[in-house]
Symmetry: D2
Subunit: 338 residues, 4 copies
């Protein structure tokens, strides 16, 4: 009796997000397993292997790419290594799941995507929020015509606290590091491409961020090919926690989402009616979406089906992030493709 | 025994908003009464007088201004007559409550404001939303430091349906006719002045509006002197009804408001959980604010106190509306005072 | 030219609720006016007359009943005077609006209702909550079949704080003084009569209430002739304010209402998400319903139409209050009509 | 290097709830594994073993009890077998996790609990809702004094649809089969014992349930030793789905919970504002609580710590269910221990 097929994965990068994927594969994705985990910090690789039932922990990612047992790799290493690893993995004939962003530099991105095309392997980019129940439901509402033609959209995406200053310096900036998720979400929800970008941004949260040459607060207006208008609101710090909402006005209705909470309790006291804060940050808020995106990748590879988030989907938000950064730098509206 | 003082009002314009004020004075403002109502449509003036206990109905507004019994006038006539009437009323020594906008033309506005200054009379502009419980509560939260320094604001303001095409043609356009309330709200809530405007706008609701040279959908980004960023979202048609919300992120917290509803009932059925639509339009939604703004005007005049919405408050949103219109026309960011 | 008819009212009792009615008649009910106000405290009557445009203030209610100008009387005096005044007013041929309850004693109630019948005048009882937008909407949902056949109902009705101990002593007890509104609401919403009552009650809020021989906390289960079951929850003190909600499960759906709030603002802080407390007490919460019930009475009299809350509607909740009190006293289930 | 200890489990009963536990052990509980699964339907046992990484599938539960490798058993078989299996497992020296109810007959329950005591093994009863985030948060609010002394409680617990008629016949009736969870919840939340029960109940949902001698709709009033009053609302059918809520009024505040939903989306259309229905039934709604209760059991056994839901906790709701059934049968209030 043939057993169900299982996808053999190699994990490159055993940091925070790598461990999320390793745990999901170990516990929640029945048709995949991690055979090898590689990390330049070999002890980190070993801890990850011990915890999540991975057979081998190595220092050198090439041992992953060289292994004939590996069907696909998960690239969860530092951003500046993504494009190079994509190219090598593609040449090794491995299917690829890569965390966002592919790279900060479009030329580098394009080289990586070309290598993927040349090798004929699958590449899925880690825009996990598409797999979240709220956003997926909004997408469905739009795709199935529940609100008619989209006209106006607000995406609100605020972190509970800024990352350390040293991270800011290498992050690529707010637009590439943080808003990139929202640029992807905007394209995903509206199903149309952006033609024009205007970014108003400021350093209001932490002077250290400004000193590092970055902004921490931004409103970015997008004009879409289908005529819709959208604004993305990013802040590095909302003291009440992780704020992840969207609303879309259409010609026949509108949709709105709310944050997710650890419980539904209302506490009614003599001064106010209160509830607990939303799920604190992305690890709690988007937990299920990380599982779902990886399950989708595993299924796409096993079924020879298209991946749900393509290399082109990984490239487009980088273009928008560059345009937003230029808009701030030059204090003007930027046309895509100008 | 001295009775409490009563303010004697003359009403100029017996259309929709004039009748709202007449009814409030008759039924809900104990220390004021309408002595005369004037309208170029004398029958309309008479109907208004009959319904709301007004002694005299006349065709010529000059009979109002000439009457020594009149302490103050309410200017509720067509927009293009506002500035002229303000000047005449000021010269007649009457205190003035005038509906928004003062005029579409800043030169005309400035002449009117100069006449008010010269006469030393009071002028209050009809930005009623400042007196709404939701917006007033948000203003209080900001003014009393409940959210720290404001950083990001969204104002959503959508009508249930567009006005007739013939009205659009004389309305002054979306920014002067509709968004002017939101420009005022932005200044009111943040307590700071706008320095830069970018308007993305489109004709998505009704082709007739585009043919009349106007837009019906807009996202306007404002940069404030205090560093805050704001976006105003306007649509001439939200099929679910009048949508009037605001949210402000501050350094120490955030505030959000919801729409107002005719009841709180949830109806839980086999397909969905539903509630009735929000209060339909401004007459229902802002009913109480119309009373409150007029009560504030009456009290300010009787108590020789400052009015809560000044001529300068009436002028500033017109500047912003002009800037937004220019931003759309020229496809660029506009600096205030450029 | 015939003017619209106006109902001439006499007000008996210038206390808190009498003043609510006087203000509504003066300001918000165009087709009625109060000609006389009577109160044993003549100064109170005079203050009421001064404030609310009433021509005459008198000490003796008989001056109201004797006046041929008076079409109808509003009985807003102490509860123990209601039944007697109803009888006298009926004999004087006046239509009657009487505050609840008619009396604590059913024999006395029945004598009053007999006098009304004999005189052929109209009698409306002041169950104002039927005219509240939330409850009226729930009634409509049930009456129009939006939830099918009602099966289970919860009525929650809690005061923000108990009345003074001296009031408790003469109040008739929780069931007659407070829950009587909820007994009426139960009958109104379900459109069926109660057949069985079980009351669990306790003295948990204030020992003084127990010492006065009353309870302050109760859960009363009602079985209805149509098979539905209901529970009424009363407390003399909810520290978060006036709590007035209902929910009904039906065979095809369910309805629920929420409390009403002074504003819709959410305040999101570092510890919690909060909103302001609900409208504090019945004067704020049910303000509009007081106007609506009186308008309905005025219109019913002027139009020779049935009143919406009859004498029988006033009697039935007293029967239920008696049954609930007996259930507590005897620690058993009580059949109505046993 | 010593590895972390792992608890070796045997599963008796591979039906719906047994499979839930098997999946949790396989995927979400790192320190336990299922070594054997037994079911009288051997094919069901085999399917369960295949899917959830269980080594052995057997027909006879005695093979589980006889295995020295087994530390603890999960009793997930039909209710009438629970007590007997508890006794046998206790004699075999196995720790026991048993689904509710222990038995329909208190004498049988007591014999089972005596066997557990005699053997000195641990017994945890499957009241999973205690581990749900909403109820756990309410318990914490009460235990930590956030609402003062509890006074009034409503527990609403309605199924989306009744079970098949053949199940009703062997279910033990609404109070033992369905409301038992709510009796446990009432004790858990208030931390006090019930002294008096009154049950109003009816057959309103499906005549077949009445023909099987059961009710499908009930309101049960509980009086607690600490003075608090509670009502439990059960219906076998809420057409809008699984309704699981609680609210508690205390002397210093109140708490309320809401249902859980698959997403937070609001859909605003021209007729209504709507959201999707709540999570459909207990498998979706309480998914996480099943994991948490089993994790708690595994940890309690491994750490030689007390279990969070004891045999006494399993017995008490059966006493209440019997009292409620008697209350309906005899149409009267029932004292616990009368």
């Amino acid at each position: 009796m043939p057993t169900n097929p299982t996808l053999n994965l190699g994990l490159i990068g055993a940091g925070r997000i790598g461990r999320v994927h390793a745990e999901n594969i170990a516990l929640r994705i029945p048709n995949a397993r991690t055979l090898i985990v590689a990390d330049v910090d070999e002890a980190a690789a070993q801890r990850c292997a011990d915890e999540f039932r991975v057979n081998f922990a190595v220092k050198d990612y090439r041992m992953v790419l060289d292994s004939p047992a590996i069907d696909a790799v998960l690239i969860c290493s530092a951003t500046h290594t993504h494009a190079h690893l994509i190219q090598e993995a593609a040449r090794a004939g491995k299917h690829i799941f890569c965390e966002k962003p592919i790279d900060h530099n479009l030329t580098v991105v394009d080289a990586a995507l070309a290598a993927v095309d040349a090798a004929g392997v699958k590449l899925q980019i880690g825009f996990n929020r598409r797999f979240d129940a709220n956003y997926a439901r909004v997408r469905r509402a739009i795709a199935e015509g529940e609100i008619g033609a989209p006209q106006l959209m607000h995406i609100i995406s605020r972190d509970p606290a800024p990352p350390p200053a040293e991270y800011i310096a290498v992050s690529g900036g707010l637009f590439l590091d943080m808003m990139i998720h929202d640029f992807d979400m905007a394209r995903f929800l509206l199903g149309s491409e952006v033609t024009r970008v205007y970014a108003a941004a400021a350093n209001l949260v932490d002077p250290a961020i400004g000193e590092a040459g970055d902004v921490d607060t931004a409103l970015v207006t997008l004009t879409f090919a289908n005529g819709a208008l959208a604004v993305i609101d990013n802040s590095r710090r909302a003291v009440y926690g992780y704020d992840q909402r969207v609303e879309v006005l259409g010609s026949a209705g509108a949709v709105r989402t709310e944050n997710n909470y650890p419980n539904t309790m209302l506490l009614l006291g003599p001064e106010r009616i209160a509830r607990d804060l939303p799920l604190h940050f992305f690890m709690e808020r988007y937990q299920e979406s990380y599982r779902a995106e990886l399950q989708a990748f595993v299924d796409a590879v096993l079924n020879h089906a298209p991946v749900p988030v393509t290399g082109a989907d990984g490239r487009a938000p980088i273009v928008l992030a560059e345009a937003a950064a230029r808009s701030v730098r030059e204090g003007r509206v930027v046309e895509i493709g100008e």
